[in-house]
């Protein structure tokens, strides 16, 4: 059970660190809200139009917010050397990294889900679609964090990793975006969306099992 204790300790530590810097925690949410606000200004405020593209807007914005928040996943640990300590520990690195990813999702992914209903209201989304939107966000944003962790682990050693990170990570986000926004669109049309939800769930399971492995290999490469 030492592994479980280490796993929980990692999550606890990262959550405490995040709460010590509450201002930084707000940034992804603010970014999310601002990007969604920009769309009506850009495409025009016709309710009909906004309603039809709302799922896409919210999901693309959530995706960008998740991607921009990724940099904080390993950055401070890399700078102060605690990442090396993490890799030196006797426990499997991939499990410990999974802990870090979960903590990161709790700090950056969960708030997105909490503000999503507000934004859905801005864009005039129906209640049925809203429920599906929340479901897809609950299933989809952890996948974004998990897959993104591979990208950050590869680029954490670079001084200017930001642009390259988006180039690496965004193509891998395509399936999540497709199924999630499609599910919401279908739901607003009153169609069943079980298939999309199930596929998102399958992707989450797959990412949960597989993503920490390349992420830990990449971290070892970045640190060495």
């Amino acid at each position: 059970m030492a592994l479980l204790r280490a796993f929980i300790a990692i999550i606890r530590r990262d959550l405490i660190l995040a709460f010590r810097r509450r201002a930084e925690m707000l940034n992804p949410i603010l970014f999310f809200i601002i990007v969604v606000t920009l769309f009506p200004l850009g495409v025009g405020a016709q309710p009909q139009l906004l309603q039809s593209i709302a799922p896409g807007i919210i999901w693309v914005s959530a995706l960008l917010a998740a991607m921009l928040s990724l940099d904080g996943l390993f950055r401070s640990d890399f700078d102060d050397g605690s990442l090396e300590q993490l890799l030196l520990s006797p426990h499997p690195t991939s499990i410990l990294i999974l802990g870090k990813i979960i903590a990161h999702w709790l700090v950056t992914g969960l708030p997105l889900i909490l503000v999503a209903p507000l934004l859905a209201e801005f864009l005039g989304m129906h209640t049925d679609a809203l429920i599906i939107l929340l479901k897809t966000l609950i299933l989809g944003t952890p996948v974004l964090s998990l897959v993104g962790a591979i990208g950050v682990a590869l680029t954490v050693g670079l001084r200017r990793g930001g642009m390259i990170l988006s180039l690496l990570v965004l193509p891998l986000y395509v399936p999540v975006l497709i199924f999630a926004s499609n599910a919401v669109e279908m739901a607003s049309g009153g169609l069943p969306v079980d298939a999309q939800i199930n596929i998102l769930l399958a992707m989450l399971c797959l990412a949960l099992v597989l993503a920490p492995l390349p992420a830990s290999a990449a971290l070892k490469m970045s640190v060495s």
Binding site: L154, R160, L168, P171, P175, I178, M203, L210, M221
Partner: protein
């Protein structure tokens, strides 16, 4: 190792040595180039002259002799890159790393050619340069994956580390390519259904098929030639401080 015949194992051991690889591929490339030239001339002659014009598309179908082989190669090269990267990652064979990264730019080139020829064909056939067809979209995303690999390699200064990073990324990409491909296909069929973009596939006539297959083989040879030339350059750059490269430069 007992499963692998001894001469084969010995061959791979020797190929893992940079001077031997450099020397061997230097002698191999002229042969490959002649075979490539022969195949490409035969394939183009068969495709552009001997094959009859399509009853619907006329002569514009002939672009498939470039388009289809490069689209096949774009996927093939990605898989080769991932396998070579995996070998480099596991056994730390320097040459596998070099083969992986040398494949990336060639593969990106094939992907780009497939996209450009596809859109050139699409203009007269569909009346538009670009449609959000499932295949086009997944090919575009494949191009982004290649560019990510090349960008990551360029961003890391230490090239051994960069090779490992690229190998991990390529392996992640290989797992993702089927998922991306099927999700894009599903997205497309759900949105609009196969209307304009569905190529009805009558079983292609043999006179049109053989040039296509010849071209596909020719493209394989082209890939090997281009990849080996890049690999040789990369090898010399990486090994510039070693004795054999100094001897090589002196002898030139």
């Amino acid at each position: 190792m007992f499963l692998i015949p001894k001469p084969v194992g010995k061959f791979f051991h020797r190929m893992a040595s940079p001077p031997y690889f450099y020397d061997f591929t230097g002698r191999l490339i002229p042969w490959l180039s002649w075979i490539f030239l022969f195949l490409v001339i035969a394939g183009l002659y068969g495709g552009l002259v001997l094959a009859p014009a399509d009853y619907q598309q006329g002569d514009s179908f002939r672009i498939i002799y470039i388009h289809v082989p490069s689209a096949w190669m774009s996927l093939f090269v990605y898989v080769v890159m991932a396998i070579a990267g995996g070998i480099g990652l596991i056994w730390r064979i320097k040459l596998a790393e070099i083969v992986a990264i040398s494949s990336a730019s060639v593969g990106a080139g094939f992907t780009f050619i497939a996209l450009v020829t596809g859109s050139l064909w699409g203009k007269p056939m569909w009346g538009t340069w670009w449609v959000w067809d499932a295949r086009l979209t997944s090919e575009l995303i494949l191009l982004f994956l290649y560019l990510g690999v090349i960008g990551l390699y360029g961003a890391i200064d230490d090239k051994r580390t960069a090779s490992r990073a690229v190998a991990i990324l390529a392996l992640v990409g290989v797992v993702n390519i089927p998922i991306i491909h099927y999700s894009v296909e599903w997205w497309n069929t759900l949105h609009q259904g196969p209307t304009v973009t569905k190529m009805d596939k009558p079983s292609i006539h043999i006179s049109m098929l053989w040039p296509l297959l010849v071209m596909a083989v020719a493209f394989k040879f082209y890939y090997v030639i281009a990849m080996l030339q890049r690999a040789r350059t990369e090898l010399v750059v990486r090994e510039r401080n070693s004795q054999w490269v100094k001897l090589l430069l002196e002898s030139k």
